[in-house]
Amino acid sequence: MTRRIEPCYLIFSLLGGVVLLFIVAPLAGIFINTSAAGFFETMRDSEVTGSIWLTLFASMGATVICAAASIPFSYILARKDFPFKGVVNGIIDLPIVIPHSAAGIALLGVLSGGSLFGGAMEKVGIKFIGTNAGIMAAMAFVSIPFLINSARDGFAAVPEELEKAAMNLGAGPLRVFLTISLPIAWRSVLSGLVLMWARGMSEFGAVIIIAYHPMITPVLIYERFGAFGLKYARPVSAVFLIVCFIFFVLLRTIAGRKDYVKS
């Protein structure tokens, strides 16, 4: 007896194939249209490698700094009810929906030396406009929802009974958070960190408004495209894509290693 394929699922799968092709084809095109010689030459271009390191580290820095404040906050969002919680959750998602150039403009307003906050920070020696700090701020602004949402879902999935049991055994709230909730939700938290980091790396719109220089890779690609055309922008894109891909797979693998929360 031959296995019959349900026509409905066949159509769904074909539609899925079209979507996958839509994602894979342009990316593959970049590599197909980049010569090996051009690729390796770009890898030796110090402007390119410098921008890639800057992008990786700026995004990582933004993620780590935000993590310290966002992870405990995600826990509160998962566990506690308070007035206007829906509004707070909405605010957290705002950076996902607003245009990133608009986000850059908004940030510029508070980070520039003329503003209250920017001016105060300048007095203690931290400038944002055209600096690494500015890049990190722009990256953090647009990518922080990914961390908070993922961490919040992770904490929400930790059975409350475990926390109750820990408190009953004598653990205070901080100890419960550090020894029970965080380790059990760790996979979601880590996956949020990876998402935030990856999203920060790919940011262009907000960063270019705060800091054209020093140049992160997305800005460099845009500049090479504007000044020299597609042929020069493509190898940089290819190198950056590979770097992003490697780091992404690496971190996803680490994040996926243990899973305590059974469905």
Binding site: E161, K164, A166, N168, L169, G170, I180, Y260
Partner: protein, 353 residues
């Protein structure tokens, strides 16, 4: 001693209303109630996981109603054990001791001692997700006992276990009971209550309606609810004696005033038998049937039940039989009427204590 005084808490969907009861020092108190009567909320309120709206909780005379959860000196065990999945069995058991800052040598000897006592020494380095239900519940009990609580709170500790694990944990709980720990155990299962409790409290719609010995609760329920809920009107304490190892044959149950033939696979020993009132047959003459228990008795009471009529017959002990109005008329049942009572050995249920 743990005392709850007029505890109330409004939870929206259901609430605790004026709950009062007391667990005496070293007593095993079972709170028995249908699901949704607020048993778990009550335990959590005693443990300090949630706070009551009004009322008091006293532990050994000390008011702990608003005491911090960490300082209450009560150990709670949840239905599924609630073991920490990211820690080994040993680290689960030692968690509370570490919170108290005890020395690691002491912690180790205490953990090993408890593992030995509760029979999971070979599991100490295992991950909790690999344990069976019964094993997990042993570890959860050890984890709660490790902090030497004044009183142990058990939230349906047997209800997620299969039959074998259930009787295993039950006998473990009986052993703990002999160690004179005050235990409050909530359940919806009357068999659990019968086999473990020194006293039973019946919970109905958010309050404790009756607290008494199992015998009193089952034979003299104070309200229709209790009677309906426990569903058992005939309850006799005594001792089971196996006459033959053959499982097809009846064993003998001996109490002070009566003997019953019982079909059971339980081991010999102290316990109770229960007989549903609908399983008792009344007849004017001794009749030859498959019933292995036939007694001569006298009607001592007769009254309408929720369904049908309840007839109390004295056959040495008082047995309640549930019959129809037609039977009452046909047999001419009335106060003082002599008759015969038959009960099948298979309708008599023995529960070991």
């Amino acid at each position: 001693m743990l005392r709850v005084e007029k505890l109330s808490k409004n939870m929206g969907e259901f609430s605790l209303r004026d709950v009062s009861f007391e667990a005496r020092e070293g007593e095993y108190l079972v709170l028995l109630g249908a699901s949704g009567t607020g048993k778990s909320v009550l335990l959590e309120t005693i443990a300090g996981i949630s706070l009551p709206d009004t009322g008091r909780v006293l532990l050994g005379g000390r008011d702990i109603t608003y005491e911090k959860i960490q300082k209450r000196d009560l150990g709670i065990v949840f239905q599924n054990g609630a073991l920490f999945p990211h820690l080994t069995v040993a680290k689960n058991v030692s968690y509370g001791l570490k919170c108290r800052g005890e020395k690691s040598a002491e912690i180790r000897s205490r953990v090993e001692g408890l593992a030995e006592e509760l029979g999971f020494s070979s599991l100490l380095s295992r991950n909790p997700v690999t344990l069976s239900g019964g094993e997990a519940q042993r570890v959860a009990l050890a984890r709660a006992l490790a902090i030497r609580p004044h009183c142990l709170l058990l939230d349906e500790p047997l209800s997620s276990l299969d039959r074998g694990a259930c009787s295993e944990i039950r006998s473990l709980l009986r052993r703990l009971k002999r160690r004179n720990i005050t235990i409050i155990h909530v359940t919806h299962d009357y068999e659990e209550a019968l086999s473990l409790a020194d006293r039973v409290g019946i919970m109905e719609e958010g309050t404790v309606v009756q607290t008494d010995t199992p015998e009193k609760i089952f034979t003299q329920p104070i309200s229709g609810f209790v009677a309906d809920f426990v569903g058992i009107r005939n309850f006799i304490p005594g001792r089971l004696v196996r006459k033959s190892p053959d499982k097809e044959r009846a064993s003998e149950f001996v109490s002070d005033r009566i003997r019953f033939n019982v079909l059971t696979d339980e081991k010999e020993g102290e316990g109770n038998i229960i007989i549903r009132s609908e399983d008792i047959i009344l007849s004017a003459q001794p009749v030859s049937t498959s019933a292995r228990n036939i007694f001569k008795g006298k009607v001592v009471d007769l009254f309408p039940a929720r369904l049908g009529m309840e007839v109390i017959v004295d056959v040495g002990v008082e047995l309640a039989a549930l019959v129809t109005r037609e039977s009452v008329e046909r047999l001419g049942l009335e106060h003082g009427r002599e008759l015969f009572v038959s009960v099948k050995a298979s309708a008599v249920r023995f529960i070991g204590a």
